[in-house]
Symmetry: C2
Subunit: 552 residues, 2 copies
């Protein structure tokens, strides 16, 4: 056995210790029997090992997905069990991710901005913790949003014995966190084993809800239900779960790859996640994703290749064999305690403060997304996050900053006249366009420029040229091009020439391809300084070409 194998074996064992309690707990959280979580931690890991790319992605059931699964399975038609629904969901998530891989849609993951993603994850964390409260207290209340949970809690009582079990479990887990990382990671499994033993051999767990016996242990390999109406019903949820799966898994595997100096291929990642979910759908599991805590653990425990995941799966099979009997006695409040402590450990209120201080609008979006998770639904929250992020992006590009620039005395640098003491010439209006010219701002361009020309006229007299410093213009789309044409016409009506300086290479390539500069008779300068100095001897495009054979 080489040293790589030994490292992977050790890392696999360490991660399995964390994965056993998590897989049981997240299955319960998703409203599924515990074995669904265990099954989801076997074959899907092998599938990812074959098709994926990251050596340290801690694949398996995940807390946020579990919450999404609960909501997705809330409206199943009569006769379809949650287990059957979860299999269809997993298969559908896998199929969608596979389709996204085929169509090279990995860029879709960028639709979730940091505020949207953090707002969503924080909301899900709070909702998961709130949802486990009744289990901790031995109440029958349940609900996947705060209003439904509160309504249900009005009618349910609570059991002091359950609450005692839950309270003690939480205290032990919290205490273990003070004892260092090793202890904190071992604690959940140790607690489960201890709780099973106490519950089985003493009467202390009398009346407390217990997990119950697992069915005969054979991997239930079977096709998911082929029911077109059911697949259609679950499609929107599957799309959202697929998006979350990809975004959260990619975020963790990318950040670890950067730390490890490895190169990650998003497309391979998408393929691996697709395969894992498809396999989960035919082997009794539930949708799976990369977990942040388990991935970090794989990395820190020294995993070197995807063989580590194969060893995790082997240890999970072993655990399944050993735990099948004893699990019957595990009190549910203990499992709920492991969930609450695990998810709340990931909650950071600081994120809201940071976003709010840096950009009000993004902070508000983050709060709105969190509130939507708690009060409405995960689907609505995700949609709000995507639409809100895009709206903020559009709003930002919609208000271009058009600055009059002048020369910093004694240099060839040109800066905003409102922020610097600079020199301006009366015959030329130097303007810097601080934004790409695209449809969201094209309509306002002409007015913004004419406004600056008026300013110039009042302060410095009648100009002969407007020289646009185009360095910050990264793109000009069709709408921007039409706006430039209108600008040229509007300036020409006042007897003023339009000229450009410092046009970026890719932008210039486009303008040249359609002969725009020649047709519009717009002069070009390599640097703004040259343009200002050129005075009446403006270079025509053909001459500029000659002087600068390379492109600007």
């Amino acid at each position: 056995m080489t040293s790589t194998w030994r490292s992977d074996l050790m890392a696999g064992a360490v991660v399995a210790v964390l994965l056993v309690p998590q897989s049981l707990a997240y299955a319960m959280l998703a409203g599924l029997p515990p074995q669904a979580g265990l099954y989801a931690s076997l074959l899907p890991l092998l599938a990812y090992a074959v098709f994926g790319s990251s050596p340290v992605l801690g694949l398996g059931p995940a807390a946020v997905l579990a919450l999404m699964i609960t909501q997705a399975l809330a409206g199943l038609p009569p006769g379809v069990t949650p287990e059957a629904g979860a299999l269809v969901l997993a298969a559908e998530v896998g199929a969608l991710l596979g389709l996204a891989a085929l169509l090279r849609l990995d860029a879709l993951s960028s639709l979730l901005s940091v505020p949207a993603l953090r707002g969503f994850e924080s909301g899900a964390t709070l909702m998961i913790a709130a949802g486990q409260l009744p289990v901790l207290l031995g109440s029958t209340a349940s609900g996947s949003t705060l209003p439904t949970l509160a309504q249900s809690a009005l009618h349910g009582g609570w059991q002091p014995v359950s609450a005692a079990w839950g309270g003690v479990a939480i205290m032990l887990l919290m205490a273990s966190r003070r004892g260092g990382r090793q202890l904190a990671r071992l604690a959940p499994l140790a607690l489960l084993v201890a709780a099973m033993a106490v519950s089985a051999f003493t009467p202390l767990a009398g009346g407390v809800a217990q997990v119950g016996a697992l069915p005969a242990l054979s991997l239930p390999l079977a096709w998911p239900l082929w029911d077109a109406a059911l697949w259609r019903q679950l499609l929107p949820s599957a799309a959202l779960i697929g998006l979350m799966t990809f975004v959260t898994s990619l975020a963790v595997s990318e950040s670890l790859a950067q730390r490890r100096g490895e190169k990650l291929l998003p497309a391979a990642e998408l393929r691996g996640l697709a395969a894992a979910n498809m396999v989960a759908g035919v082997s009794g599991g539930m949708p799976v994703a990369g977990s942040f805590s388990r991935s970090i653990l794989l990395h820190e425990a020294g995993a070197r290749s995807r063989w580590a995941l194969v060893f995790v799966a082997a240890f999970m099979a072993l655990a399944l064999l050993l735990l099948a009997g004893p699990l019957a006695h595990l009190p549910k409040p203990v499992l709920a305690a492991t969930i609450v402590v695990a998810v709340l450990g990931g909650f950071t209120a600081r994120h809201y403060v940071e976003a709010w201080r840096y950009a009000r609008a993004e902070g508000l979006l983050m709060v709105a997304v969190t509130a939507a998770v708690l009060l409405w639904s995960v689907g609505a929250a995700l949609a709000m996050g995507v639409v809100g992020s895009v709206a903020l992006l559009i709003r930002r590009t919609a208000q271009p900053h058009v600055a009059r620039v002048g020369r910093v005395p004694g240099t060839q640098h040109y800066r905003n006249v409102e922020r610097y003491a600079v020199e301006c010439q009366p015959d030329v209006v130097g303007l810097r366009i601080d934004e790409s010219l695209v449809f969201t701002n094209a309509r306002g361009l002409v007015d913004a420029v004419l406004e600056r020309v008026r300013e110039h006229r009042v302060l410095l007299g009648e100009p002969q040229r407007v020289l646009l410093l185009m360095g910050p213009v990264n793109h000009i789309d069709m709408s921007g091009l039409v706006a430039l044409q209108e600008l040229r016409a509007a300036l020409a009506a006042e007897g003023i020439r339009l000229e450009f300086s410092e046009v970026k290479g890719p932008v210039l390539d486009r303008l040249r391809a359609v002969g725009w500069l020649e047709r519009q008779d717009v002069s070009l300068y390599l640097s703004h300084h040259e343009g200002v100095q050129a005075g009446a001897h403006a270079l025509r495009p053909s001459q500029a070409d000659h002087d600068a054979p390379g492109q600007l």
Copy 2:
């Protein structure tokens, strides 16, 4: 009477001559009785004159709106006449525009890019012309998309006499276009009067469909139907019609304001359009917008103030009194001919070629929107235009160009090493980020930069610093900020410092507000050249502040 009044009176008369046939024709096109078009050209014009801002907006029924109205009224519940539906629609469009004015949503108009708008208008033009063919030919076929029209045409025959009337009318109108502008503008009204006379006093129009007698002429002032279900049903259509009304009216009034050296207030424009449509909804009209052809005409005929619109309305009232009787005899094919000639005059295939040559993707979007109008529905086409434009914008920002830059020998300018012969120093990697750092590209930033560092290492040796030239970065959102933090950490792991040069004022203000540069210990330089030269003596942010009291 002052000379302004005289100019406005003359311009009003000229525009009324064009508006009479257009208002009759567009009412027919919208599936409404002819008087709806005439009523829509009376009080709504006065309302705009009071609340609007442009002196040359040719308000009234419009061809594209007429097509949208037909589709909106296709699914009216039994018992609701198209006339009653059109009044509800107009009132609702007015209410929505008023709401948009209150909420200052005038920026929403920027959601329609040039390719989307042109694709939509071209599609509507073709569809309107195709829809008039059966009327021209005396067939009973009808439909507001090509498939429904074709299906309906399969079952209908045609009438040689109607076709003769239609053919002659088209030829006369086309011929008038060769006779100069004056003639072309007078031709439609002259043709209508001549056709009414021939039809009334000769037997030539026997069997040809005719407009029919108008009801007793009294302005039907009444509230629109207060039926909540009906208002809800028409709401999506009203929103789309409102958007088109605002966008097309604003486009024409803005471009004329620029030509006339006037300043246009989009908010006032929105208010005027809202008032006009609300009034149309209570005075027997139909939704109204600014027409391109009539606005140009008002401008060229010398209109100086919104009194011109008041005179247009007065002439329309006169026309209504004179035409009420004779209109009964007007053959419909003649009216259809005026529509076909008017709308096809505005169709320019060149727009597709231009868009395609300048940017494939925008050309494709334009074709797709046109096809959607013809084959699907105006609503789907508009939605496709908006979503497609936003998707292209996102795609553009998603692939940032990160260029290694070097010094143009003998200058202080830095340019892309791949396009210029420039000098680079081995200890510093100069990179220009050609895009704002926002969520759509944040995830790719670290990889893109590390890739360039690897290139540098191979070509020039181990660097000590990465100096990012931030001039083209117009915004950094929260996701971009997080990415920069990750970049700093990833570089630090390789023993490389991160530094910025030429950070824009507004961007720097934001970073300073949260103390980011200090916390992350990132140095700042006023110019890239300074940064490269600084070598080991990097300025710390506090020092930079001191050296440059103004902001960068």
